[in-house]
């Protein structure tokens, strides 16, 4: 009798664990399904990619300005955040026992959790207010702060997967530390480092809050980074809150583009990471 009750309870909680896993997948599938079903019509029209904003009600409007803006903003942010993040991550992996490395690591982890809206306010105070002008530069600065800790920590993680024998072999041959770190370790860890950089790019491309008071948004196609610039997340945010159906459709279309970008980067990075892990398992 008692034994049966215990077994029944065991079965109940095992089932609940499966239920929890299923419930966790539910929102993902719902978000994907609704984004695709509401966004595909807008996203499949050529005008969507060939034109920028038009007054509401006039057909043929698109989000070209937002696509170009996102590429430019994230590109500029990457130019700052990726080299700095990779070098910082190399430092963390090469000198991991030193106390400075653990301070940097803690600061990086805290920075990852810092509200992105606060990073936007910070970028506004430093890069917008002194010039009295919203600009794509300031938006890229805010995104760079956001990307930096991600690139740094994933670089460190990728370098830790490289067998330490490689470092020892290099040092034993009398190579200077910088050559061992940059030419042996970083090259061997390259797939993981690229993965981290891509994940940071995908994360930055989807961020809205840091751009609100920096890049601000623009209704036209602009290439000059000293001007305010539109980005896809800003299009989603602003258009979704309008009462106009066609602007809402554009918002869903832009959301679909962001989701597709994020999905591709994440699945590709998974593939790259698996290769790196297999390599580490074979040689390590």
């Amino acid at each position: 009798m008692r034994r049966q009750r215990r077994l029944a309870r065991d079965l109940l909680f095992r089932t609940l664990m499966y239920v929890a896993a299923a419930v966790a997948l539910l929102p993902l599938s719902l978000v994907l399904a609704y984004t695709i079903s509401n966004g595909w019509r807008a996203a499949l029209q050529p005008d969507f990619y060939l034109h920028f904003e038009r007054p509401e009600g006039i057909p043929g409007a698109g989000v070209q300005h937002a696509i170009v803006g996102t590429l430019e903003l994230v590109g500029m942010a990457s130019l700052i955040a990726i080299p700095v993040g990779v070098l910082a991550g190399t430092h963390l992996a090469e000198y991991r026992q030193h106390s400075w490395a653990s301070w940097v690591r803690l600061a990086g982890d805290v920075l990852v959790g810092t509200p992105s809206i606060a990073i936007g306010l910070f970028a506004y105070a430093v890069l917008v207010a002194p010039f009295h002008h919203f600009s794509a530069f300031s938006g890229a600065g805010a995104l760079a702060v956001l990307m930096l800790p991600v690139v740094m920590r994933t670089t460190e993680g990728a370098l830790l997967l490289v067998p330490p024998g490689l470092r020892e072999a290099g040092l034993a041959l009398g190579l200077p530390r910088w050559r061992v770190a940059l030419q042996l370790m970083l090259r061997a860890g390259a797939p993981g480092v690229v993965t981290g950089a891509l994940l940071a790019v995908a994360r930055a491309a989807g961020e809205t809050a840091p751009l609100l008071f920096t890049s601000f948004g623009n209704r036209r196609l602009i290439f000059n980074p000293a001007e305010p610039m539109q980005a896809l997340p800003l299009t989603v945010f602003h258009n979704a809150l309008t009462p106009y159906k066609d602007l809402q459709d554009q918002a869903w279309g832009a959301a679909l583009l962001l989701v597709v970008l994020v999905l591709i980067v994440n699945l590709a990075s998974r593939f790259a990471l698996r290769r790196q892990l297999a390599l580490a398992a074979r040689t390590g």
Binding site: R9, D10, L12, F13, R14, M17, A20, A21, A24, L25, P27, L28, V31, Y34, T35, N38, L87, A88, H91, E94, Y95, W100, V104, A107, D109, V110, L111, G113, T114, P115, S116, I117, A118, I119, L121, F122, A125, V145, M152, R177, W178, A181, R203, A205, G206, T208, A209, L212, F213, P233, V236, F237, A240, A251, W252, A255, L258, V259, V262, N266
Partner: protein, 311 residues
């Protein structure tokens, strides 16, 4: 004698400070410097509001740009209520997923759930926002808010007039968004529980659930607590998705179906339109409050999770 001098000279000689180490250490300083700069700059920018309103700012319910009188309490209320209830909603599911990812022996199913949870973390906040606004909010309104309000209108948290954009919608969206953090960190903690403990419990005749409930989860308690605090930090600072669904009204009402407002949302909505020095500095002070709280929460959580990993 001579040989002794030579050996001390040798042991005293420090290894030459490598240029590479110095350069990369300076580059790595970018992360701590950025963190420091965010806090210092926000404090400096908020200073006019801090000196003008004093500590009253944190407990005042007034938000009146015309009279230039500002208080943070409604926003603190909204932020705290949405974040803690989202955590309460997500915690059982997150722990369930963590157990699933750490304990089931079906690699393919585990892999699928793992990828799913990771993708959940990768979806941009603004996409959760538009989904929450157009899909989740109407559904919750029709299938949760209206029925509960009809039946339990005298219960405070279900009272008032239900609204689509409400604290409840924000809570559900936030719960979804913190689920990946919660389950990924908890999974690592559960995995770190020594296998000998599990084997001991099984050897004494425990079922899987008895082992999990009496041995594994108590051993992982501190780490799961750390994961919860980390997730709480994410929820407190989440901006765009919450802004789109929370209703954006600085009220303090007991009902979950009433609109609310959070620290991050009010900054996102009003900062570019704020006229006058005190108005914009008051908003920056709200940002400073938010950063300070998340900073403390995050450091505490990281220390908790780290001690668990080491032990």
């Amino acid at each position: 004698m001579a040989s002794a001098t030579v050996s001390t000279a040798q042991t005293n000689r420090r290894p030459p400070l490598e240029g590479f180490r110095v350069v990369t250490a300076l580059v790595a300083a970018a992360a701590p410097l950025a963190l420091l700069a965010i806090v210092v700059i926000l404090a400096q920018q908020a200073w006019p509001a801090i000196t003008h309103f004093g500590p009253r700012f944190l407990v005042s319910r007034v938000w009146n740009p015309v009279a230039v009188d500002f208080g943070a309490l409604p926003y603190i209320f909204g932020t705290v209520v949405t974040s803690f209830l989202a955590l309460a909603l997500a915690l059982p599911i997150g722990v369930g997923v963590a157990l699933f990812l750490a304990e089931t022996s079906r690699p393919r199913l585990r892999g699928a759930i793992g990828i799913g949870v990771e993708l959940l973390a990768a979806i941009p906040s603004v996409v959760y926002g538009i989904w929450g606004l157009y899909v989740l909010a109407p559904w919750l309104y029709r299938h949760v808010e209206i029925p509960l309000n009809d039946r339990f209108a005298n219960v405070a948290i279900f009272s008032g007039t239900p609204r689509q954009t409400s604290l409840l919608t924000a809570i559900v969206v936030l719960a979804v968004m913190i689920l990946p953090t919660l389950s990924a960190v908890s999974r690592d903690v559960v995995r770190a529980v020594p296998n000998g403990l599990r084997e001991g419990a099984y050897a004494l005749g425990s079922t899987w659930w008895e082992t999990t409930w009496r041995v594994v989860l108590p051993a992982a308690r501190a780490g799961i607590f750390g994961a919860s605090v980390l997730a709480l930090g994410r929820a407190l600072g989440e901006t765009i998705a919450v802004t789109m669904v929370v209703g954006n009204r600085p009220d303090i009402q007991p009902s979950l179906f009433a609109p609310g407002y959070t620290l991050a949302s009010v900054v996102a909505n009003e900062f570019t339109e704020a006229t006058g020095q005190l108005y914009s500095t008051a908003l920056i002070e709200l940002g400073l409050v938010l950063v300070s709280v998340t900073l403390v929460v995050n450091v505490a959580a990281l220390l908790l999770v780290r001690t668990v990993d080491r032990g």
